[in-house]
């Protein structure tokens, strides 16, 4: 019987031929089956942003009142912080899924060894695993955007692009996270991930504008990937859209492509040679 192999696009023909077999969707199916019992985790994860937004609405927002948003216009603090939290939660969710879970499957469950013994390539695995992380991120982001909408924080028609932007952000972080997870050797090294994530969450203008920093630090902060996700979403949510946002978009796309390349070549190198 002839197996059904989909015709490959240009990009996939450039890659080494054994990397991709067009079967990434079966990994997605597996993840959905595995997690269909743990729906409570998903439900509570979708509730989390509600807690955060509520805290900023009734608490932090009253302390601050108004801040200077993108383009220099003054806006309410909760409207300022909400897009930042959306980007941060897309990052956190994606990285959690693509590091802890991938590490366990790679090192302990030997799931990928088993999969690579079937007609599935490393790129299929990378795409499938990252795809599920993104799917999960998309679910949480949808809940978040819905809460933002009911709180009246979506004031611009550009806000319809918030969800795609969140999906792109979680794709970028999931891809790089999965690539990095293949380098980890023991669970104690997860501290390194926290060491990168936590400062990025706190300092990437999530909670206060970039102008707070001295000039040298502003430059450092604007190199962080989360900063670009936040800028993109803050612009879309407030309707302050400019050409510079294409730069943020390019940054995130490059990051996603680089992460995908890293994850699949690492799997290839470590498990197939």
């Amino acid at each position: 019987m002839v197996s059904e192999v989909p015709s490959k696009g240009l990009l996939l023909r450039v890659l080494p031929p054994s990397l991709y077999a067009g079967r990434a969707k079966f990994l997605l199916e597996r993840s959905i089956l595995v997690y269909s019992r743990a729906w409570l985790v998903f439900a509570s994860g979708a509730l989390e942003p509600l807690f955060y937004l509520l805290a900023f609405q009734i608490g932090f927002g009253r302390l601050v009142g108004e801040v200077v948003g993108p383009g220099g216009q003054v806006m309410s603090y909760v409207a300022f912080v909400a897009p930042g939290l959306l980007a941060a939660s897309a990052m956190n969710g994606a990285v959690f899924d693509s590091t802890y879970n991938v590490f366990f499957r790679f090192r302990y469950a030997k799931l990928y060894d088993a999969m690579l013994a079937t007609p599935i390539g490393p790129l299929d695995i990378a795409l499938g695993e990252i795809g599920f992380a993104v799917l999960r991120g998309a679910l949480y982001s949808t809940a978040f955007v819905a809460v933002m909408g009911t709180m009246g924080l979506l004031t611009s028609p550009w806000a319809v692009l918030l969800l795609p932007a969140a999906i792109l952000t979680s794709f970028g972080f999931a891809a790089v996270g999965m690539g990095c997870a293949t380098f980890l050797r023991s669970t104690s090294q997860f501290d390194y991930i926290q060491l990168v994530l936590m400062p990025m969450f706190l300092f990437s203008t999530t909670f206060y504008p970039l102008s707070v920093y001295p000039e040298a630090l502003q430059y450092v902060v604007s190199c962080l990937p989360l900063y670009h996700g936040i800028e993109l979403m803050r612009g879309l949510a407030t309707g302050f859209v400019s050409w510079s946002m294409l730069g943020h978009l390019a940054y995130l796309l490059t990051m996603a492509a680089a992460g995908l390349w890293l994850a699949s070549t690492r799997l290839h190198k470590m498990l197939l040679r």
């Binding site: 985790v41 009734i58 932090f60």
Partner: protein, 268 residues
């Protein structure tokens, strides 16, 4: 060791717990470096981001008692970090003692009793909390977060609040057999909302009265009130005693319950 203890000798109740602490210490001496981030850098990051960064947007007003936001948030962040460390150390590590590493089973095969295993764990948590709180206090000193020497008392309050959370969480972990999503639920529906809504970042009178009782019954709020009171000098005797009594009662209740579960699970 020069002196060899005969096996089967019953040790005193404190001695047994201290022997457990010695065991933890032996382990920690090798692995303390992996905690450098959580007990060293993380408090610094949080204080810089919330106290200085977010604080730069806050005008000193009635909500912060006329103080700068850094002074307002510094003592509360210590207590909050202490609570999180205590809960973290009393969930998976405790279940692991029963289920994965099984060192609790090993310890109770010697003349150490389940109660001493629990006591040893809580003593160890207290030491970890003291270290973390002291490191935080030093970091906050460097950033100018303290108004007076009351900061030393904040360290004590932080450890006490942590222990008041650790004891009931130990009971929860000891009564957990199939962890499933139990711990994740605890973190998501108790620890996280408590961090946000128990007065760490903003006064709880901004919360609608119908929901404010949730803050009142949380140990973190009582700890935060005490911590702010001692460093800002606004603590009155009676409310202070009340907050302390709440924390002590929570610890005592948690300890009794945890002790019962430890015996139930370790005595065959």
């Amino acid at each position: 060791m020069t002196e060899v203890l005969s096996t089967g000798r019953v040790v005193g109740s404190w001695r047994g717990a201290v022997l457990r602490v010695e065991g933890y210490w032996l382990w920690y001496r090798r692995y303390w470096r992996s905690n450098l981030y959580s007990t060293g850098l993380q408090p610094l990051f949080f204080l810089a981001a919330m106290g200085l960064g977010f604080g730069s947007q806050v005008q000193p007003g009635t909500a912060t008692g006329g103080l700068s936001y850094l002074h307002y948030v510094a003592p509360a962040l210590l207590v909050s970090a202490s609570m999180m460390l205590a809960v973290g150390e009393s969930t998976y590590p405790v279940l692991s003692g029963f289920k994965w590493q099984k060192d609790y089973l090993a310890a109770t095969a010697t003349p150490i009793s389940p109660g001493q295993v629990l006591g040893g764990h809580l003593l160890w948590v207290a030491l970890r909390l003291t270290l973390a709180a002291a490191v935080y206090a030093l970091m906050a000193l460097l950033l100018g977060g303290w108004l007076n020497a009351g900061a030393l008392l904040v360290v004590v309050v932080g450890v006490a609040t942590g222990l008041a959370c650790a004891a009931p969480v130990c009971a929860f972990a000891a009564s957990t057999y199939d962890e499933g999503t139990r711990f994740a639920t605890l973190f998501r529906f108790v620890v996280m909302p408590m961090t946000l809504f128990a007065g760490t970042f903003f006064p709880i009178d901004q919360i609608p009265l119908a929901l404010r009782w949730l803050a009142w019954i949380s140990p973190l709020w009582h700890g935060t009130e005490l911590a702010r009171g001692v460093t800002l000098g606004t603590l009155d005797l009676l409310p202070g005693l009340g907050h302390a009594a709440f924390l002590i009662a929570l610890f005592a209740g948690g300890f009794v319950l945890a002790r019962r579960f430890f015996y139930k699970r370790l005595v065959v």
